[in-house]
Symmetry: C2
Subunit: 186 residues, 2 copies
């Protein structure tokens, strides 16, 4: 009955990385223990440190492997607010949130990794967003949109998927799209 998949360095590494991704998103940095990751990945705890160095670096690698808003920031400029609205609405209404969004808003209070998260929010959300905006105060407008995105993550994590009293998806998208429009407009 024993699994014969042994001595597979790369495979084990991937299982650890995937377990860490899932757990960090669900529980936040502080509440994920090395032992929990090891159990979830069905790997020995010492291998985590051997392959990744330390918990902090594992977290950094997890964030690094996430795409930067795939399909949201790309596409026609005039539909950007709507794509953001759909992204946020889907994450709020679906049975699980966005791993990046959740990991970020759940882990941002930990000094140990604050720098990592700051860089990630900057490079994956704020800067690409600000870069797509024209007119004055682009960075301010991008920041407000970012606040709305991360705040949605916090809300989701507190209230689960019925944070919004469960109206129809289209109503949520419509409202969010209008809000993002005002955020991003020059």
């Amino acid at each position: 009955m024993e699994e014969v998949r042994r001595r597979d360095r790369e495979g084990t590494r991937q299982r650890i990385l995937e377990a860490a991704r899932r757990l960090f998103a669900e529980l936040g940095y502080d509440h994920v223990t090395m032992r929990l990751i090891a159990a979830e990945a069905d790997a020995n705890i010492a291998l985590i440190n051997r392959y990744f160095g330390a918990k902090r670096e594992l977290f950094a690698e997890v964030l690094a492997m996430q795409g930067r808003f795939p399909g949201v920031l790309d596409g026609p400029q005039e539909e950007l607010p709507r794509r953001l609205a759909e992204y946020v609405a889907d994450r709020l209404l679906s049975d699980r949130g966005s791993p990046v969004m959740e990991a970020l808003s759940r882990s941002s209070a930990t000094p140990e990794i604050q720098g990592i998260i700051k860089d990630r929010v900057s490079s994956a959300i704020m800067e690409p967003l600000a870069g797509r905006l024209t007119g004055e105060d682009a960075r301010l407008r991008a920041s407000i949109a970012t606040a709305l995105i991360t705040g949605s993550g916090t809300l989701r994590q507190l209230f689960g998927q019925d944070a919004l009293d469960a109206p129809a998806r289209e109503v949520v998208v419509e409202r969010l799209a209008r809000v993002f429009e005002v955020c991003l407009a020059p």
Copy 2:
């Protein structure tokens, strides 16, 4: 040179409460230790548990003593978006954020106190806000505004007071006011 303020039960209780308020706001629930509170309050650690029972209950008491958006939710209805905008802008730009806002967004990932925070966000922000709104989907609109408020807390805590590239206060308030208007409008 010794302080002679000894054997003052109520005074000690208040010093502990005040130190806890400050520290929870600054560091979040997880990263505030009982020993840190005791040191900051210049009190013995055992007294914290004697007076408050447990860390969790101390946190609940800290949240309970905070006013519910004093001066923001009250006042003429048509200026509500602007008052919210001023509140958020001031917290983002000033040298320290709002204790409630910070404590909430810094501590929301801890399962131990998730219920406390959830109740607090509901009763202090979302429900009063939704109660002031007319028209359909009041709860959805209040939720989006809440997301923006808590998201601002997260942003502030990540980037400090120059999260917004430091434009003039009036510019920030103006933009936020327009966003809140769209959030809250029927």
